[in-house]
Amino acid sequence: MRSIEFSKRTTKEILRDPLSYIFCLGFPIIMLIIMTAVDRSIPKEAQMKIFKIQSLAPGMAIFGLTFVMLFTCIQLSKDRTTAFLTRLYASPMKSVDFIVGYTLPSVVLALLQITITYVCSFIVAAITGGDLKFVNVLLSVTCLLPSVLLYIGFGLLFGALLNDKAAPGICSIIITLSCMIGGIWMDVDLMGGGIKSFSHSLPFYHGVKAVRMAVSGDMGDASRSLLITLAYATVIYILAIVVMQGKMKKDVR
């Protein structure tokens, strides 16, 4: 009950911040439109597939999740730096209420963002004649869930560790890593060498790869990528909970 009430409050706090709409919803959609325009200006001979709607839509869905991470992080760090959280520590709320209260709204926001990104992708596909199948997209939403957990975990971890000034900076590193070596904006497999190995050792590449495979309808070895992403996500989320609980205990000392 308390965790649900706290979730409602956190949801309202996030949704009533206009920046949430600009970054979580507006920015990925604008990028989707821009990248579609870029794709149309690339000669067919170049055989560039990354900006085709089949690759672009999953990339955008993950890109949107990086902003969910940012807002989760900012919300938690902001609460920590004000007396509001201290006040709640003095209430009958338990640590599980805080964890659920920060996680649940981010999950809802992530699902909302994924839905809007895919709806826009279908519109773009209809206009440009792109090939986007509903069943595959639906399957890809399932494949996005480990990434949802991963980015929320990062958001909670940085939000618990950093203040609201430092948190966005650290989140931007994860956003950049996701975009560049995660393969949202570029084909990492084409690069090879150290960058490729580094990219493959992190969850971002695998998260994007699994979702792209689902959207393309060719699941291939997607399960391996999904498992890698899920393993990272579980570790990061558990680490975030441990750090959050540690911070709460430290605040009450």
Binding site: M1, R2, E5, F6, K8, R9, K12, E13, R16, D17, T82, A83, F84, T86, R87, L88, Y89, A90, S91, P92, M93, D97, D251, V252, R253
Partner: protein, 248 residues
Amino acid sequence: MNEKYGIQIQNLRKEFGSKVAVNDININIKEGQLFSMLGVNGAGKTTTIRMLMGLSKPTSGDALVMGHSILTELSAVKQISNFSPQETSVAPNLTVRENLEFFAKIYGADKEKASKLVEEMIEKFSLQEVEKSKAKTLSGGWQRKLSIAMALISSPKVLFLDEPTLGLDVLARRELWSIIEKLKGNMTIVLTTHYMEEAEQLSDEIAIMVNGEIKAHGTLEEMKRITGKDNLEDAFVSIAEGSGKTEV
């Protein structure tokens, strides 16, 4: 006659490393009283009330809040007490009504009861004109009123007010005094303040803390009598600058 105590502090001590913030204090606060804790910055007032609310663990000693130990019955203590911190502590993007409702519910009120309590608080604190405004858009005075209303919505038996009028203009301060005055007798209130005028106006009893110790404890008149001063500010300076404990 047996006196009922809202709070009984027993050898409460708090150390931060080698620094003793609260030094084995003992004090009984009568139920329904407004008890003011005065002291210069770093005297140990806030640390003491943080321990009473479960926000800080005592190094040793204990305290009973309405008979419940802060060491072994903290959940019960949290359920029957509430507090308004000195900093702005409202959910900024929630409206006044939503802030009140949220606090009513986390203290266990169901939807119907929460709604009734919210109406009561809006009425009591004359929040009607701002009830639909987001908390972040309110002036400092309104935010402080809301903060205290949020603390009262759980109908606490013990209320902690940490410098409730800090930074407010004189009119807003007087208005809050009048609200706090009306609460007296209904619950035990522990107030920390730097404003002597505030303590004079509101307190049933006063304690003066210096370097983590209670240097004096008694009514306003007793404070003035033992120091030979005719106002609390002079009595406070006399006690804070003097050495040794002043039993009243």
